[in-house]
Amino acid sequence: MTADALHAEGTALLARQDRDGAILKYEAALTLDPLHLPSLVDLGVAKYWKRDYARAIELFTAALTLRPADRAIAINLAHALADDMRHVAAERLWRALIADDPSLAHAYYQLGSALMWQMRHREARESFRRAIELSQGAVRRKMWRAYLNAFLYDDAVHPQEIRSRNAEFVAELPKPEAPVVFANPPDPGRKLRIGYSSADFRAHSAARSFRALFEFRDRANFEIHVYSEAATEDSVTREFRALADGWRSTVGLDGAQAAAMIRADGIDVLVTMAQHFDDNRLDIPVMRAAPVQINAFDVATSASDVFDAFLAEPTMAAARGDAFTERVVRSRRVYVHAPLEAAPPVAVPPSAAGAAIAFGSANNPIKISGRAIALWARVLAAVPGSMLRLKFYNAYREEATRLGLLNRFSAHGIDPARIVFELGGVETDGHLRFYERVDVALDATPFTGSTTTFEALWMGVPVVTPPGRTVLSRWTAGMLTRVGRPDLIATSDDHFVALAADQAAKAKHQDRAALREAVRNSALCDPRAQARDFERIYRALWRRYCAKVRA
């Protein structure tokens, strides 16, 4: 059999969803002819989908050597590099692709992502901005979201700028041509139809935040309808679907169509979630889909005037440093977390076992801003002999990434030998074992840890959070307040350093089991209370709407 024939068989198998079978055929083809181009490329793609990025990169690299001018191969390679967290290499490739075709919006988008991973926020924003200029429609909205999201991680950005940039996006979204009139009966006490609009009804950390609103809702008083932007469905999607009274997809609908559908469904309160992330849609509430609209689970202003409330926990909104256009409504329990029952048992702090003091951060390196590095460096300087462990899946596998970070610590006079990078452990359990090697967790800023903070606390490790004035920079502070540890919230940079040093000195005597219990027993793990709080706000806002309509 020829390589061509084997390749054709492989492709036929792939068409029947038999990816493993296809892989065998492509491998066989390459045994016959190691330079068989179609097999190199298609096997690379198959391996990519199997998340064997290393092999995919080998194959695409070989293919590209054969056909240096083939942009499709280069794009595949760049994606594989990015997913393998080789962002420096990916950046180089995307730049080459852009040099070749400066109108490639997607390449600008990907270049922006690669730059974000290298914490080069400003350059990333420039690249996303270019991507916006080059695209239209739903793709353009996606570019906007990437661009606006990129402001959240940068410690040099003023909240007012976040608002101005978001306002530019809002300005170009279509608005209703005439004032929208709602037919919803303005009865303050009646059963309400709540609509939830999100792209995250799937296995995603955001879904954990609002799952309880479905599971524990007050069925007598609230009906739940979903407006899902999830392109693919998984088991989590199916769970949500089973809990909802109505389910509609908004994929492929424009804002006006989706809003018309929501109005026709008689939704009283539309809740849009985590607006600054994923494929979540601001264009739908901008078309005024429901009489009451709430912006929930977001971390910065939408800069639009279509929301009746931006929900925030009191601690998160306490410093009032944001420039919201929405009115902030304080709700005690916006966020909840499910107990991590599969987690390993809490460990003995390393310093109690005689090891040197180890600080640690398992935050996404995108969150390691210049300010975070400066603060962490001050902590290391204040605690001689200590080290800092960093881990986020395989984010630090690329030497260039590691060197980049080490240079930034060196600039603050920190010996690179004190920074320890860890790799691997995608599964939750192995991921959480990181905390067996950490005495005290240091939080990032301005975008603090969320899930990461919860995991550290669940593992009984104190998380010291830097001072912040925005909702975004006080996420950890909110969590610490709710588990009864506001003492870990720094009020100034000096205080942060002193707190971290103090926690390090006390690490030997940590009662990690007690902290885990405190977290387990806190309102943070009380999903029913969260559901009640949200419903109280829905009802209160609805009453206001009714009073306004009747006046």
């Binding site: 009191p314 440093g321 009115r327 902030v328 004035r469 706000i537 009802r539 209160a540």
Partner: protein, 699 residues
């Protein structure tokens, strides 16, 4: 030696400075030639100069007798008489001398030095007319003016003697009396440049205290010697910084006197001991029956220990001031018309002025307040200021804060520019505001302590408004707008143009660290955490009625004033037959926690609670109010109606009792109360920020 030679040699010796030799020679000449007037004069003159006025008198009188028309002889005789303590005779002699030589500067000055009060001032003024550069006359005139309390004129004289440490000390003292602490501070510092002086240190201490630099002030007082005025001044500085216990300590062992009693009263009032404060102010008032500050403080202390009737009787006798106006809002019987009239009368002291024409492309909004600190106003500011659109508006603070604290630091973040006006007099502050070119100037004090309405009266900004902190009109025609709402002021009674803010004229920033809303213990329990001054006789009568209607109910009252047992006893007595069911709490640390023991909060009248009501609602506790006709009596209704709790507003006393009992029997869910409040416009300060920004363009 003949007389002529002796006189010549004597003059030569005198000019060499050999006064003893000169005296001998002049004596010789006078003895040799008794009819020589010059000899007699010179003999007497030198004796007088040497302090031997008793011996000088005879030869000088002889000289004058010999040549009555010689002004110099008479001048010397007058000085001698003055030296002998015969002031009236000296004055008469000077007058005769001046009649002969009206333009003799030395004579005129020496004459002035024998006078007191207005006559002295007129005499020095004459000297200065002859010689405007006469430093001695200017200094002495300044001292004479200061002795009469004419501080502004004294200030101007002292200010023209910059190189004289005595004048600098005087300048500092005058500046302190004119509330120009910064000038006083600088002058005292300059005086100390010439050498240490207890008076300079004293003035410096007072100035530092007024500028809020309390620790520096205490250090300065340490060098001010043991003058009896030091201890009360030190206590005053400590009072200003709310360090009342330290103030009391500073007064320990201080001699009795007006200043001591005032400082003591302020310290006791500051720590909530209003009975002790009442005693101290009464003593001060007895020492200086005409002092309005003492009488005013006395009345206020009475108000805060729950003695409204006594306080009002005292106030009625006082001249109208901001303090007497403010006290009117607490009075049960006050009508909206009388309130307006009283404020209008007060404002007549200011002449109408022309406003500057200012229109910035990025309009500037200036807030004037003494309460940018731990004060109830801060709750409202915290909810509002962060919402200003700083891209379009420039926000200025004109701070009259006496002692800055952590809240000041927090609030500073919400301003583009921060100007301190504490220590500047009204004209200087107005000038600062004019130079800052403010489009809209907002008063946050009304007639409450530390207000700067005198600045507003000068109209340093084209548009002026009053908003917060005071429950009535300012009375000033120079203030254009007052922010209120349709519930607080349905029939506006004010000199300003009312601006009705949609959603209510107030806003509240709920504290992030408030405890969860929950109930602890058994009911029914009513409560009020309003200060005691608000518990008017009508309030106590109504609440007693409620307790009688519900025999198993308790009432918890919490106020600073209840720290003191004498005050507690006095208040319980006013509750009469229901006193056993009234529980009094002093100033506990865990303020909000106490709401867990309360089922229903009661709003006092006619001066309703504001922040107290907000706090109750945030803790999920319903509040019942009985509105009256004045703004102060309608704040409760404003809050409740805008927070979606209109059903808790009573139309009369019977309804008040009914609503309170119904809520006590079936309390609403605390979580629901908080959520409704959280979703209400009252926790949305942005509305107010927008309303204020709109005012920059007028109505």
């Amino acid at each position: 030696m003949n007389a002529a030679d002796a006189l010549r040699d004597g003059l030569a010796a005198y000019q060499r400075g050999a006064k003893a030799a000169a005296l001998a020679l002049f004596a010789q000449a006078a003895g040799a030639e008794p009819g020589n007037a010059d000899a007699a004069y010179l003999h007497g003159f030198v004796l007088s100069e040497l302090g031997r006025d008793g011996e000088a008198l005879v030869p000088l009188e002889r000289a004058v007798a010999l040549v009555p028309g010689n002004a110099a002889y008479r001048g010397a005789l007058a000085l001698c008489l003055k030296g002998l303590g015969r002031i009236a005779a000296a004055r008469a002699e000077f007058e005769r001398a001046l009649a002969l030589a009206p333009n003799d500067i030395g004579l005129a000055f020496n004459y002035a030095n024998t006078l007191d009060g207005d006559a002295a001032i007129a005499a020095y003024t004459r000297v200065l007319a002859l010689d405007p550069a006469h430093g001695g006359a200017r200094l002495n005139r300044a001292n004479a003016l200061a002795a009469l309390g004419r501080w502004r004129e004294a200030f101007d004289d002292y200010a023209r003697l910059p190189g004289d440490p005595r004048a600098l000390i005087g300048l500092a003292g005058a500046a302190l009396h004119l509330d120009r602490a910064q000038v006083a501070h600088d002058a005292a510092q300059s005086a100390l440049g010439f050498g240490s002086d207890p008076s300079a240190w004293f003035n410096l201490g007072v100035a530092l205290g007024m500028l809020g630099l309390t620790d520096d002030a205490i250090a300065a007082f340490g060098k001010a010697g043991d003058d009896p005025k030091v201890a009360p001044a030190k206590a005053t500085a400590l009072n200003r910084a709310h360090r009342y216990d330290a103030a009391l300590k500073a007064l320990d062992g201080a001699g009795p006197g007006f200043d001591t009693s005032m400082a003591l009263g302020n310290a006791q009032a500051g720590r909530g001991f209003y009975t002790a404060a009442t005693d101290a102010f009464a003593q001060a008032a007895a020492l200086r029956p005409d002092d309005t500050d003492a009488a005013m403080n006395h009345a206020n202390a009475l108000l805060y220990r729950g003695e409204a009737d006594q306080a009002n009787a005292l106030l009625a006798r006082l001249p109208v001031s901001s303090s007497t106006l403010y006290a009117l809002s607490y009075a049960d019987a006050i009508t909206a018309e009388a309130l307006l009239e009283a404020h209008r009368d007060w404002a007549k002291r200011f002449a109408p002025v022309v406003a500057p024409a200012i229109r910035n492309t990025r309009p500037r909004i200036g807030y004037v307040s003494a309460d940018f600190c731990a004060h109830s106003c801060a709750h409202v500011l915290r909810a509002t200021l962060p919402h200003h659109d700083r891209a379009k508006f420039e926000i200025h603070a004109f701070s009259n804060v006496a002692a800055e604290d952590a809240v000041t630091a927090e609030l500073k973040a919400h301003f583009d520019h921060w100007h301190a006006i504490a220590g500047l007099d009204d004209e200087a502050a107005a000038d600062l505001i004019r130079r800052a070119r403010i489009d809209l100037l907002i008063d946050l004090s009304g007639h409450t302590g530390g207000h700067r309405l005198g600045v507003f009266a000068r109209k340093p900004a084209p548009r002026q408004a009053t908003w917060l902190g005071y429950p009535a009109t300012t009375g000033l025609s120079q203030i254009d707008f007052r922010l209120v709402d349709r519930v607080s002021d349905p029939a506006p009674s004010m000199t300003e143009t009312p601006v009705f803010v949609d959603g209510g004229f107030l806003a509240y920033a709920p504290p992030a660290d408030a405890p969860d809303p929950s109930r602890n213990g058994a009911g029914p329990v009513f409560g009020s955490f309003n200060n005691l001054a608000k518990l008017s006789p009508a309030t106590i009568a109504l609440w007693s009625k409620l307790l009688r209607a519900m025999p198993d109910a308790k009432l918890i009252l919490k106020a600073r004033s209840f720290e003191e047992s004498a005050t507690r006893d006095a208040i319980l007595a006013k509750f009469g037959d229901v006193a056993s069911r009234v529980e009094l709490h002093g100033w506990l640390g865990a303020h909000l926690d106490l709401y867990r023991k309360i089922d229903v909060a009661l709003d006092p009248l006619p001066y309703n609670g504001t922040i107290t009501t907000f706090e109750a609602l945030w803790m999920g506790v319903p509040v019942v109010t009985l509105p009256g006709r004045t703004h102060a009596a309608r704040v409760g209704a404003s809050i409740l109606s805008h927070a979606d709790f209109g059903g808790w507003i009573a139309k009369d006393e019977a309804a008040f009792v009914d609503i309170a009992m119904r809520l006590a029997k079936t309390p609403p869910s605390r979580e629901d109360v908080r959520a409704r409040f959280a979703a209400s416009p009252l926790t949305d300060g942005k509305r107010i920020a927008r309303a204020i920004e709109k005012l920059t363009a007028g109505l």
